[in-house]
Amino acid sequence: MIEIDLSKKTILLTGALGAIAQHIVKTLLAAGAFLVLTDKLDEAEASVKLATWQLDPGRYVYRQMDVTNGNAVSLVVDEAMDRFPNLDTVLGHAGGCSLHPFATTSEAEFDRIFQFNFLAQTYLARAVLNAWTQKKVPGHLIFTSSYVARVPHTRIPAYATAKAALEGLTKCLALEYAPCGIRVNAVSPGNVAAGSSLKVFNEDSEYHDFVLRVSPLQRRNSPESVADVFLFLASPMANEMTGQVVSVDMGVSIPKIG
């Protein structure tokens, strides 16, 4: 029997209070990892939310961190790296959007979505890779992408291009940091029955029908199955992978006609 044991690992997760993140958190905790959870809510608000998840309180800490504030990212990452020498895995998971057709999306809103989904990941990467390079930690940085990075999609232009840029960044950084033994990968979910796409799925019948039509397996991803891919990547089983985008998307990104 193969057992995944992450009990010697500390993992930092951005966007940790999100709907998919909840399943990632539970899965990684079940494998024994210690977690540094970060999100934009303050500690009091976060503890109320985390209480409903019924996690083992001794296995994680929470830090308020706005991923779009590069200085805050630098502060929180540096402090976490100093405090937890085993912090060798970081999940850049924060992201998301609502529908934003190009024609009716202001320049400022487009920038905001692009910054949140792409530039903020560069702030995280800068802080994390600097710390690991300095401390000589052969760490593993794992971004959350989306199938829309490769499969064109209407009404989410800033989000889709940000995720496309993020996949490019994943490969560039994997190459640049390979000599240090640092690995960079990404997970690319399809339409997940949780988080921001769930809301749109329920509220927009056109999107609802579209999602079921474009998924070859004719279902949406469960957040549990997405969490399992993070578990695999965080485990020693993925030790020889870098620069990869791992799709867990019910086949939605398979090129097809008709």
Binding site: D66, N71, V76, E79, I182
Partner: protein, 389 residues
């Protein structure tokens, strides 16, 4: 009961006091970890460990700490109520119901520095005569003030964590400052970049208050940096040395840092000066450990600058205590000071040299915690822009 309460109780017992009154913001941070908003909070600690905090009714609820008895008094009302008279009455009443009305209560009686409250534009003074009226009759001597201030010297592990965070915040400000430096921007603009970055960290990582006072001097202005620090409208030029002196406060815990960096190519003289100051700082840092005398640390730094020909230009002490204030009370790291470093102390190491005939000065300042066996630099720069190769 916290370490701090135990220390204060022992202090009260040694001095036959029934209680102690604190109101300066740094005293409240020391006793409660509480940085008052208005600077109008007054703490009465009794010999049995009970803590009664009197706060202005305008004090934000979220800055009032848990685990203490809180009594509010009027402030800023449109009627003619004298808030300090009400407060004095409340204190007397609390002492009376505890049968302590005739007991000796101590307080800092003499003029000492104070850190700033959250509302840092001004520090409203508590009228000394009101404090005196409560502590009147006690046989309090100046020696007792000094003994109270000695409680500042050794930090608890939780306080060390908070001072480490203040330094981490300051480091972010210095990083942003370093990236902002380029020919053409003014000293004030460079200072504003650091201050703005630090202020914007409020709300992140559990930080309720973060503020910095950054003072940037460039080119010939660095000659004055041993006497005073201020930012001017001077534009930074290629070939300047640029110095930043920065006080950073995070929720009442302080860091005090200085960096001096070149912009563009600097002259051999400037380079020699910076190298000598860096060598002096390194010599002092290497010596830090419990049991080492302050004067020996100072001498280590001073001798490096002497050898480099800058003996007359190192015009100040090598360091001081830091943490509850920008400059904590306690002995200086200076010539002739025999006091000994102990585990838990946090000091600055800040040699500098200011050389009029070279038209430049330099200082490097870090904050260091003395540990059980050696020392930990709390403000070490994170190595940015390091390549992976």
């Amino acid at each position: 009961m916290s370490d701090r309460t135990e220390l204060l109780r022992a202090f009260l017992k040694r001095n036959n006091l029934a209680g102690w009154i604190s109101w300066r913001p740094d005293e409240l941070v020391l006793q409660l970890g509480h940085l008052p908003y208005w600077g109008l909070s007054l703490l009465l600690i009794l010999a049995d460990g009970e803590r009664i905090l009197f706060v202005s009714e305008l004090e934000p609820v979220d800055t009032v700490p848990d685990g203490v008895t809180v009594i509010r008094y009027p402030w800023g009302r449109l009627d003619s109520t004298d808030p300090f008279a009400v407060l004095a009455g409340q204190i007397e009443e609390e002492l009376k119901v505890r049968k302590l009305a005739k007991s000796q209560i101590g307080a800092m009686r003499h003029g000492f520095r104070s850190s700033l409250p959250v509302m840092a534009a001004e520090q409203p003074p508590f009228p000394q005569e009101k404090i005196d009226s409560i502590v009147a009759g006690s046989a309090q001597s100046p020696r007792m003030d000094v003994e109270f201030l000695s409680l500042y010297l050794r930090k608890t592990s939780e306080e060390m964590r908070r001072i480490r965070l203040a330094n981490a915040v300051a480091r972010v400000g210095l990083q942003v400052w370093g990236e902002a430096l380029e020919p053409g921007i003014t000293e004030a603009q460079a200072a504003a970049a650091a201050e703005g970055a630090i202020h914007s960290l409020i709300g992140q990582n559990g930080i309720g208050m973060a503020r910095a006072w950054a003072m940037v001097q460039s080119g010939p202005n660095t000659v004055d940096a041993g006497r005073f620090n201020r930012s001017s409208g001077r534009r930074i030029e290629e070939g300047d040395l640029v110095l930043i002196e920065m006080a950073t406060c995070v929720d009442g815990y302080w860091s005090d840092l200085t960096r001096t960096v070149p912009v563009g190519r600097i002259s051999a003289d400037q380079n020699d000066l910076v190298a000598a100051v860096a060598g002096a700082q390194r010599a002092a840092l290497q010596l830090l450990a419990p049991g080492v005398a302050a004067r020996d640390i100072d001498a280590a730094a001073r001798s490096v600058l002497e050898q480099a020909g800058f003996a007359d230009h190192f015009t100040h002490a090598t360091g001081h205590h830091v943490g509850f204030r920008y400059h904590d009370p306690g002995f200086a790291i200076a010539p002739g000071i025999r006091d000994i470093l102990e585990a838990g102390m946090v000091i600055t190491i800040e040699p500098g040299a200011y050389v009029p005939h070279l038209q430049c000065g330099a200082r490097l300042e870090d904050n260091v915690a003395i540990t059980a066996s050696d020392a930990e630099i709390l403000s070490a720069d994170s190595a940015r822009r390091e390549h992976c190769d």
